[in-house]
Assembly symmetry: C2
């Protein structure tokens, strides 16, 4: 069973509908009564990060920024964080992690309002809960044939850092920074939602192809990605595969009607985030790559899978 199938089963087990809930599980965040948007994001030592890669404070910042990224992908405004920490018998480690999460909160003006702490007999586990508010949300299900597919920023930097560390090398400083300090796309997400520009949106946590596939499935459409249009992070050494399949960039992918293109480009200027049209939505299903001559190919693989057999990684 892969991670996607496990998530589908967990959702099916847990969800039964509720009048208090506007949008249930399966998107970047839940949306409940009063317009409250909530998401949780796990960071597990040895899975999501390692302390010989980044410091405890950086791991905390990263976990906080990743949780807030889910709110950005809904177009929500952040209001608060909660932090649960399971740490070995070392209170100073918990404090360093907490300082890091607070840093991610400070960047967007929210505080840590609660949480829990426990000893862990194993790795550090940080679960960050992001709480926000939205009058309307952008889900993964609004993509329609004919819309453009867009991404913010550039991709592959975080994966390049992980690749370098995994080969006992030192990553490009820019790539390291992308891993340690995911960008804040909350103002962008809120503007794309508030102006009605984005029709489907997701944050790219598991890789562009994998997350585009999620939007395609949720919307019942196919996604065409033109490889040469995908902005590759300078730290990724021009490796398109890192941009297509690497995860952890926490940029936004969204779809938008063709008539919105000029306004989207202007918005990118206003919020100082490059926005690039990388493809289009079409009838059908699945993600397909298209080269500069219009030739199509199936993606080589999906994104990061926690439950794939090790040999497949």
């Amino acid at each position: 069973m892969d991670e996607a199938e496990l998530v589908r089963r967990l959702v099916a087990i847990g969800w039964k509908g509720s009048r208090a809930v506007r949008l249930g599980p399966g998107d970047d965040a839940a949306w409940v009564r009063g317009g409250v948007v909530i998401s949780t994001d796990l960071a597990v030592e040895g899975v999501h990060f390692r302390f010989d890669w980044i410091s405890p404070a950086e791991a905390g910042f990263r976990a906080g920024a990743a949780a807030l990224s889910d709110l950005a992908a809904m177009g929500a405004a952040p209001e608060a964080l909660l932090v649960s920490l399971a740490v070995p018998h070392d209170p100073s480690l918990a404090q360093a992690l907490q300082r890091g999460v607070r840093g991610a909160g400070d960047r967007v003006g929210v505080a840590i309002v609660g949480g829990d702490v426990s000893r862990s007999p194993g790795p550090v586990v940080a679960d960050v809960v992001a709480v926000g508010r939205a009058g309307t949300v952008v889900t993964r299900a609004g993509a329609e044939a004919g819309q453009g597919v867009w991404v913010s920023g550039s991709l592959g930097g975080a994966a390049a850092a992980v690749a370098a560390w995994s080969e006992d090398g030192e990553p490009h400083p820019g790539a390291r920074d992308r891993f340690a300090a995911p960008p804040d796309r909350l103002p962008l997400g809120a503007a794309l939602s508030g102006e009605g520009l984005a029709r489907a949106m997701i944050d790219i946590s598991d890789g562009l192809v994998a997350d585009a596939g999620r939007v395609g499935r949720a919307s019942g459409v196919g996604i065409v990605i033109r490889g040469r249009e995908v902005p590759v992070h300078p730290g990724a050494g021009g490796d398109l595969n890192l941009a297509l399949y690497g995860g952890e960039d926490y940029e936004l992918m969204f779809t938008a009607p063709a008539r919105a293109e000029a306004r989207i480009l202007a918005l990118g200027e206003e919020v100082s985030v490059p926005l690039t049209r990388i493809g289009r939505v079409e009838e059908g299903a699945g993600v397909v790559l298209e080269d500069s001559r219009g030739r199509r190919a199936a993606p080589a693989r999906g994104g990061y899978d926690h439950f794939a057999a090790p040999a497949e990684r």
Copy 2:
């Protein structure tokens, strides 16, 4: 550094005030704009439970019930759960845990609206987020000299089960049940809050003495507990120490004005939960035990401390 001090430091690091927040960290749950009440509760294998004690589904139920207990202690109505699971390379374990959490949600009529899942290279970690709503909340800070101190149900059952398991014995079935299936005190908590009966309230997760101490500190008062009045769970074999110092019972402790006594007793009948006055609030600080002849003694110790040195446990 003990756990209480670590929690104080984590709160100080994370909290800076926020207009979006009605009640920040340090109580059973946070209370944010729109009356939303949120709490998280960690359950770590080998710390909070063991799989040779209870099944994965029971561990999930317990984690869900423990998270909901924080809402009960605020007098909030539950609306939703989110579940983050870090589990070894075994998807069936994650599903069993999720089914257990769903069971705790079903008991009180709420669904699981989101969460996260990751592989864990160590123990199972479940972090359950409970989301509720309240027009007003009962904090730990409302105790005043002259009020009575009350508890719901009976105490020491869960600790008796842990004590039996720790000595390689089989616990009393009733005690085992108290550990595996914490009670639902949401209707009680909501009624105590809604009728203005409880002035300070906490759920007893770390032991009566430890949690009474928290109410005393938050309110700036002393708490007198009359040992002979404390209802000891039948599974605890009459051991008052288990009731005073054992944790994990998830009953409610609250303080109330003397004039509310008759109504509180009637309410207990209405919701079928025994409510017992076990002491009183007085000027001063700290928790003191009082025997049947009015003699006073300091408690022998606090409650469960995740960060105490092992020799102190």
